[in-house]
Amino acid sequence: MVVKQETKSMTGNDAVSYAALFAKPDVIAAYPITPQTTIVENLSRFVDEGKLDAEFIIVESEHSALAACMGAAWSGVRTFTATSSQGLLYMAENVFWTGYGRLPIIMPVVNRCLAPGWNIWPDFQDSMAFRDAGWIQMYTKNNQEVFDTTLQAFKITESKDIALPSMPCLDGFVISHTTGQVDLPDPEDAFEFVGPYDDPVIELDVENPWAYGSMTGPDQYSKHRRDLMVAMERAKKKIVDVHKEFEERFGRSYGNGLVEPYGDDEADLTLVTLGTIGDEAHEAIDRLKAEGHNVNALRVRTFRPFPVEDIVEFAKKNHKLVVIDRAASFGHDGPLRIEVEAVLKRHNVDTSVSGKIMGLGGEDVPYSAIIDLVKKELKE
């Protein structure tokens, strides 16, 4: 049975903050950077006002923000941080360390492009740079989803059989600073869903000492990495399960949690997207359908682990995929396009794929631009 919830008006960053508040992290450490800042500010307010009983560490850089969370994670408590863009790059070493070290940390990334020039607007160049880092990455389409996803992330990440850090991603400004409606459960219901963090992935103990991260030879090292690969595979199912459990309790879902299809099962053209462009694409599709075009969409919600099977299944039923990337792997192409192409090739799916990189550095991607793209692609 779906629990009672109240619709509230708030920004995407507020939604993230509430999810964190409800999950009751023990230690939070963060460093401000536009457009993540208001998350940090909200949380320090919650702590200062006594709404949240957490240690809040006002660190001196992002490298230290994540490092402090890592310290807390090693101590066996629930931890939370958030960052963006240059901040994410500045903590790069610890981002990989957290992922490869299997530390259960939740870190929303408010997507913003990378300098130079200085530009605070969104694209996915920042989080995409960490697609190898052993983190679960989920891209969201609106305020509600970012709340839901952050809450789900705790449950997925902290499962001992997963133990992979999570990076819920939200488009800077477009989600983070835009006010919209969010159905907010009671804090108790939310916490009950997440559950206490009482079977920690790791917890230091003076009675039974161990050393973490000492020198490792190739054998042990590659064993850990293979386990990481396998955990990522397992995480797919976990994401689906947690997403289903969430749906049962709160009545909301996003496809199966990995991908969100939109429109008919079969169409002449399928838009494949990430983030808010996915939402905007739905608008475009409805308008195109009204004009008699047969188009549908697949929003990739979970980018890591990459939902190979779901994409293949969907693609099989369709004829032409058009991938919109909001990031570029310079010297090749958009990362989403590349990976979609790869999996279709791997699974011998004939469906053709094309793509376009749009919206870099906050360039607006209105539904009209998507409609234009579709029409152009339909002609080709």
């Binding site: 619709t7 509230k8 008006s9 920004t11 536009t34 457009p35 605070i120 389409k141 609106n142 488009d171 400004f173 477009v174 989600i175 600073h177 835009t178 006010t179 919209g180 409606q181 808010t276 939402d279 905007e280 739905h282 608008e283 607006d364 991607v365 209105p366 539904y367």
Partner: protein, 183 residues
């Protein structure tokens, strides 16, 4: 879908106003969105914000390009808005003692009120900036009739808490004093 563009000066509370308007629309049972246009905004510099209402979920995330209504919190910013892009049937809500010259003869529906005066009378001044945002929300709901004053009041109260009375009062007075005319 109703789309609104608002222009104000940094320091006068425009962004907060847009947020509260979206909340008021939510109480009206609508899906609503408020988008501030961030940049290197400074006190006194022009700042845009956009608001959308819809009776279905809003899936659009772009700035508003073709607004139904416009809200101008400082008359000196009137020329910063391309009025021709505003829907012919829309309302131009403006902080002004009278119908601005520039609008006369445009055939537009204009809702005007001396928001600055009202706010100053009520002492809504911060570091030299008159906070006309709540006042102008009163004018907006009066001018457009999209939202009931009750729902606006609810949103204002929710946001301001202890500081609500003055702000509600400002909106109320504007609601009462706003004149809506076709010019």
């Amino acid at each position: 879908m109703i789309e609104i563009i608002q222009i104000s000066r940094g320091g006068s509370g425009g962004v907060t106003g847009a947020k509260i308007l979206a909340e008021a629309a939510m109480y009206e049972g609508l899906d609503a969105q408020a988008i501030p246009k961030y940049g290197s905004e400074r006190r006194g510099a022009a700042v845009e914000a956009y608001v959308r209402f819809n009776n279905a979920p809003i899936r659009i995330h772009s700035p508003v390009y073709d607004p139904n209504h416009a809200m101008i919190l400082d008359i000196s910013l009137l020329d910063r808005i391309d009025i021709s892009k505003v829907d012919q049937d829309g309302v131009i809500v403006i902080n002004s003692k009278e119908v601005p010259e520039e609008l006369k003869g445009t055939g537009r529906k204009v809702a005007y009120v001396d928001a600055t005066g009202i706010s100053q009378e009520l002492g809504l001044v911060l570091s030299g900036f008159t906070l006309v945002n709540m006042t102008m929300l009163g004018a907006f709901v009066k001018g457009t009739e999209l939202i009931s004053f009750e729902n606006l009041e609810k949103a204002i109260r929710n946001y301001w808490g202890e500081l609500a009375p003055k702000n509600v009062e400002a909106a109320k007075r504007a609601y009462e004093e706003t004149k809506v005319v076709r010019v």
